[in-house]
């Protein structure tokens, strides 16, 4: 039997070529190629990932080899330390795939949890745990270089990593995040359809905050004790009058979209002009019915003072309701 690969004349009865080990009986060979199964979308996504990893050069080991970084005390290369800026990558560089991916996945989960619980105590705890995982990843990446240290020395190095990480990467991350958006738990509001007591609201950070607010903007502002959220009713220099539960700004009725969250029917009759550099916000949690509608001059003066919010006390535009998760979504 002649081999179709190398043309060697084999003895009859052989299944494979004696010279090149090729299959001799071609008729037995299946010619239908295997085809990929599974959802097309999944395959497309996978292809996209493969393409992008090829395009960005997802070859850590190659990068490190090219960098020719020195080794730490004869142990792990400095590259693994550099790559450990993202937890787990240091291990991947060292070829510890399972450990590397586990650390990376764990850290991602913790960071996701800290973002989901952003603005609460739990958020801080998740963040602290993420920092601990990160510090552990770095310590593991340079472990070969720390073999000479005692356990106290290693502990000190670990603590030092936690502090340095917190003061550098995570502080910078936190600063950047608050520049984009902040989150606050609101406790000083009346329960309305839009905001309820205990809601965590995401608001525009210092970089996205508008220079001037408009009438009707839903803002988070600083109160004497905590934070409130409500709409801006009037801008600086405008005259406002509240008469029998109706509100007029510059003599015109206030449009519905600019009305305070809890309405103004509980407010006493008032008249004032908004000071320069201030906005008029009528808090939703004031309940004048408790006073039987008898409002003295002193309380009117307090209202004049408290309802006019300095522009610098406004934290930003309320954007998103982060918690409770059952009411997760845009505020308006």
């Amino acid at each position: 039997m002649k081999c179709s690969s190398c043309d060697f004349e084999n003895m009859p009865g052989l299944e494979r070529c004696a010279r090149c080990n090729a299959i001799l009986n071609l008729k037995q060979i299946d010619i239908e190629p295997p085809r990929a199964t599974g959802p097309v979308a999944l395959r497309r996504t996978r292809l996209g990932v493969i393409r992008s990893t090829h395009r960005i050069g997802f070859n850590f080991s190659g990068i490190i080899q090219r960098l020719r970084l020195p080794r730490i005390s004869g142990g792990a290369p400095l590259g693994s330390l550099v790559m450990s800026l993202v937890p787990g990558l240091g291990q991947l560089v060292l070829g510890q795939r399972i450990l590397g991916w586990s650390i990376l996945a764990g850290w991602c989960v913790l960071m996701a949890l800290s973002f989901l619980t952003y603005g609460s105590v739990a958020g801080s705890w998740w963040r602290a745990l993420a920092i601990l995982v990160h510090a552990t990843a770095i310590a593991l990446a340079i472990r070969p270089g720390m073999t000479r240290l005692s356990w106290r020395g290693r502990l000190m190095v670990g603590v030092w990593f936690v502090i340095v990480l917190n003061l550098t990467i995570y502080l910078a991350l936190s600063w950047t995040t608050t520049g984009l958006c902040g989150a606050l738990q609101i406790n000083n509001v009346a329960d309305t359809g839009i905001v309820q007591n205990g809601d965590t609201i995401v608001y525009t950070g210092r970089w996205l905050r508008p220079d001037r607010y408009e009438r009707g903007d839903l803002v988070i502002y600083e109160l004497e004790h905590g934070y409130g959220v409500d709409r801006i009713v009037a801008l600086e220099g405008e005259s406002v009058s509240i008469v029998s539960g109706r509100i007029l700004v510059n003599g015109q009725p206030l449009p519905a979209e600019a009305m305070p969250l809890n309405g103004v029917r509980h407010f006493p009759d008032l008249e004032f002009t908004v000071n320069q550099g201030h906005y008029l916000i009528l808090p939703s949690n004031l309940n004048w019915e408790a006073h039987g509608g008898n409002v003295g001059q002193l309380i009117r003066q307090m209202l004049h003072r408290d309802c006019q919010v300095n522009a610098s006390d406004i934290s930003g535009l309320a954007l998103w309701r982060l918690r409770p998760f059952s009411r997760f979504g845009a505020v308006e």
Partner: protein
């Protein structure tokens, strides 16, 4: 393996039938040569599914045809079924253990799956195997690209020096470069293909893809339109033209970021 790829095709001239969008082959005869020619023709139009079917039919007629085995593996790679391509390349290598083109196909499949060590090993074997072909050097270029090594352009230049190198090899190289995000280099290769076969709609389609990768949306649309002028029912170009109109503004703004890969 690319021997006489288009040389022996009996294509009708476009002016013979205006309704025909692309030259079609007589499907009645299904000899191995005929099936192989249809498969190659389908491949030149980017119709990988059809090409794969006809490569399989070719093998049904003649299992000893290495080019059809290579074609199958290449089509599976083009269809992004890399694991299957790898499996099939291994299967083909059981029949033709030291065939350079099959080894090159195996190297390509490994490279696409990110197994760079294996890709390089198979590519070394392919180049060292007896015989010569442009495809081995094209595959070598791809492996070097995947391994982030320089000199891949030399491999493509070496492929161009092979005697059976034809216009479609420029497109093969262009597809490889495009896959790895080397859009400018891919465009150069497509221009070379266009200089040889300006009347082929697939060349214009490939040019459009490269331009799209570079963020030249207007030029890409123009190329797709040109492709459709040449072949009004060319589905890939129709799809691409429609998709360029649907692309989100943000994606358009971000696409020039790929320019950092320009080399």
């Amino acid at each position: 393996m690319m021997e006489g790829r288009f040389g022996r095709l009996e294509l009708r001239k476009p002016q013979e039938s205006q309704s025909e969008t692309r030259p079609m082959l007589d499907l009645e005869e299904h000899g191995a040569d005929r099936c192989f020619a249809i498969a190659t023709e389908a491949r030149s139009w980017g119709d990988c599914e059809r090409a794969l079917r006809y490569y399989t039919r070719t093998l049904g007629e003649d299992r000893g045809r290495v080019a059809a085995w290579c074609g199958q593996v290449q089509m599976l790679v083009q269809l992004a079924e890399y694991e299957e391509a790898l499996l099939w390349a291994d299967k083909a290598l059981e029949v033709f253990p030291y065939h350079g083109d099959l080894l090159a196909c195996r190297a390509q499949a490994s490279a696409r799956l990110g197994d760079r060590k294996s890709a390089m090993a198979y590519s070394d074997m392919a180049v060292g195997a007896p015989g010569q072909s442009a495809w081995r050097w094209e595959s070598r270029g791809e492996v070097l690209l995947a391994c982030r090594k320089s000199h891949y352009e030399e491999c493509f230049a070496k492929a161009a020096c092979e005697p059976e190198f034809d216009w479609f090899d420029y497109i093969l190289i262009s597809e490889i470069l495009e896959f790895y995000g080397r859009f400018a280099s891919a465009m150069k290769q497509t221009h070379l293909a266009l200089s040889k076969r300006p009347e082929h709609a697939y060349n214009w389609y490939m040019l459009g893809r490269c331009q799209q990768g570079l963020g030249w949306w207007g030029a890409a649309r123009e190329s797709y339109r040109r492709s459709l002028e040449l072949s009004p029912e060319f589905s890939l170009a129709i799809e691409a033209l429609n998709s360029t109109g649907r692309v989100h503004l943000l994606a358009r703004l971000l696409s020039p970021l790929c320019l950092w890969r320009l080399r």
